[in-house]
Symmetry: C2
Amino acid sequence: MIEKGTLIIISGPSGSGKGTVVERLIDSMAYSLSISATTRRPRDYEKEGVHYFFKSVDEFKNMIENDELLEWAEFCGNYYGTPKEYVMGRLNEGKNVILEIEVLGASQVKEIFPEAVTVFLIPPDKEELKKRLIGRGTEDCETIEKRIKRASEEIELLPNYDYVVINDEVENAVERINCIVKASKFESRRYIEKIKDFK
Amino acid sequence: MIEKGTLIIISGPSGSGKGTVVERLIDSMAYSLSISATTRRPRDYEKEGVHYFFKSVDEFKNMIENDELLEWAEFCGNYYGTPKEYVMGRLNEGKNVILEIEVLGASQVKEIFPEAVTVFLIPPDKEELKKRLIGRGTEDCETIEKRIKRASEEIELLPNYDYVVINDEVENAVERINCIVKASKFESRRYIEKIKDFK
């Protein structure tokens, strides 16, 4: 029997560097990235089943009704969601699956899939957060100030997560997440069946 | 500020090999072993504050009354218990402290010290358990059968623990426990204070 993989939900405010960390985890080959379904149009380079599962509004609404989504949300007139089937398929193959997702979606998934491991990624402190948001060099002061305020608000939600990982260096953050995923395999609830072996 | 250590409670039935695993963890220098208080007489080689804190019955009863013990029990007419002060002192120095303790004591400690990480060590299966208990070669069949029965009963308590570690090889078990302790440092409840840094 293949040991089931772990579903890891990663959230973090803008400036936490979660994009880079998730990329690095995927590159390490020990993880699959969940693929979202969306009703928005594909961009030129985007491939069905690689970047997204592209759906019509009707198809998407059907998926909601048939309970085929782990979570979903509407954003700028388009629907986005996480198809259960893809995630469950990878988990059953023994793959760990990463879901990079906003705070609201994270609690939706945790509710229907309590064995998911939720990780909240944060920058080391406010100064570093500021530096990272300014570092992008693409926005004016006002936008940056707004982002910092929003990030500070989002960080207040960290108690809702199982684990908090400080992203001081990408390598450290990746190592910490690997360790969390490994330890989660030893949670006692995964061993209830094992009791039978001693009867 | 020194980061506080983690209190790790390790239990396991006879035959789980917890003695060897704990010894190996202590040898690795990353852990302190909790020292028990007892009213029994010291054996020749036993040193105060190394093997035990030796107490008179009156002294021990005072410790109980003054709430100075994390847990205690009476066994064969002697008292045994875990002094809070020693454990807290090591944790505040940033040391991880191991408490090797019976199931009943483990739940007592977890109740008053919920941030403790509880680990239940088990042999891979019933056959291996049998082999280990026979392997000691010091007991007759009836005693061994009794032990196996008791161990099987104890294993039913595994859902009470945070983690279950299968002790197939000592090295593996040690590595698993190290990983659990490391991951426990990232539990979100340890980061509540961190929220302030972003205000």
